[in-house]
Amino acid sequence: MTGEDTRHLPLEDLHQAAGARFGAFAGWSMPLTYPPGVMKEHLHTREHAGLFDISHMKLFEVGGPGAAALLNRACPLDAGALEISQSKYTFFLNEAAGIIDDLIVTRLGEDRFMVVANAGNAIEDEKHLRALATDFDARIEPLDRVFLAIQGPDAWAALARAGIETGSLLFMHGIEPRQNWFMSRSGYTGEDGFEIGLPEKDARDLIAKLLEDERVQWIGLAARDSLRLEAGLCLHGQDLTPEIDPASAGLMWAIPKEIRAGRFIGADALRSILERGPSQKRVGLKPDGRQPVRAGAALVDAGGNPAGHVTSGGFGPSTGHPVAMGYVDTALAKAGTKLFADVRGTKIPVDVTSLPFTPHRYRKG
């Protein structure tokens, strides 16, 4: 299952000791589940607090007098308009407005930004940013950090008990609470929670304290996926790709209106997509019954005509039914539209539905 080039988490020993089952993801050997199993792990996160090792993801610090201008070129973003500590969900786009990666950019200081990128795209992202940076007075520093997420309604209290106060930090804000730490109130579960990048030694100390608290449990990648799918959040490589633009993906909320006439890479292509309207749109899909409908399944309308395809699908432990998302022809994207998914030759009825499946519970103020 894991080849020679597979990368290993710095804290792999802790996961082994916790009884994790490992699997390959984006070139990394990752804990998929722990002994409680994906169902219990998922529910525990929604009820208490889940601890995730997401060190496969990459943190870059972008700094220098031209840092904001570089980011404004690479992303459909007004980096200079961010307040210090404010985070923004954004993208690297290609010239065709396809999504190279989805990212979170946080303004750390006057001319310093933190960029959090997906594991599978980190190398391409760095290359892309470095190539662009030759035109700007900016430096790009990939950081060597352990990256943890702690997610769920008890996350803040568990951190407080471990000596980390989060009181004034609101959703989509990030700070540097200690030297070489980066902590944001954000996540990939739809719950209140935090993501913390920190040196390995500090991470081991923090984890030991957190796991003394019975509200905190290790959660594997399998539950991370079911949590984000219920929350309607996209996985790059499945729901977002370099062939999919933000308008089709229903992510235009991430691009401020004032900059849509701007000069970020892909701006021209995105404008023309917006003018004629995207031909397909990302939607939630609720299959009838209990059989999951998974990524790759074709969708057809009531007449059997091609309607789109599923990009993510599985079972929602909190919803208690299968959940999926995918792309359908714009005319079929209205909630309530009845479609059929082809699962091994069987046509499973699916309802187009709004996202998320489980309400977000972010701490916004």
Binding site: V38, M39, A223, S226, R290, Q291, R294, F315, R344
Partner: protein
């Protein structure tokens, strides 16, 4: 006089009177994780060894369960429609998947007994 056999694909067969009850092993259910759906076979379907008989779906993935020998489906475990997690909680008992009438009992000779299977999974 039932005798139990095992396959390299982590299935078990309990054979009695020319009919095999088939399920997946405890090891297999642990690897798959929490099951949420079992696609059961049609009664009367004829299967050759290696054909997909059943699809078991966990939260994360769908996995095929193959016919370990040739035969005809005589029964499917209907209680799995309401409670697929029986496969997790009782893989070698109430979580059985299907019964099949064997058409070539000599194929059983190539399967493992419990001791050999235990050695196989290490």
């Amino acid at each position: 006089m039932a005798k139990t056999y095992f396959t390299e694909d982590h299935e078990w067969l309990r054979v009695e009177g020319g009919v095999a009850t088939v399920g997946i092993t405890d090891y297999a259910q642990e690897q798959l994780g929490d099951l949420v759906f079992v696609e059961l076979p049609e009664i009367g379907r004829k299967l050759a060894k290696g054909d997909t008989a059943v699809v078991v779906e966990s939260v994360k993935a769908a996995s095929d369960v193959y016919a370990p020998v040739d035969g005809e489906i005589t029964e499917a475990n209907g209680s799995l429609s309401a409670d697929p997690s029986l496969v997790n909680s009782a893989a070698t008992g109430d979580g059985w998947l299907w019964k099949m009438k064997l058409s070539n009992e000599s194929q059983l000779d190539s399967l493992m007994d419990e001791a050999a299977y235990r050695a196989h999974i290490g």
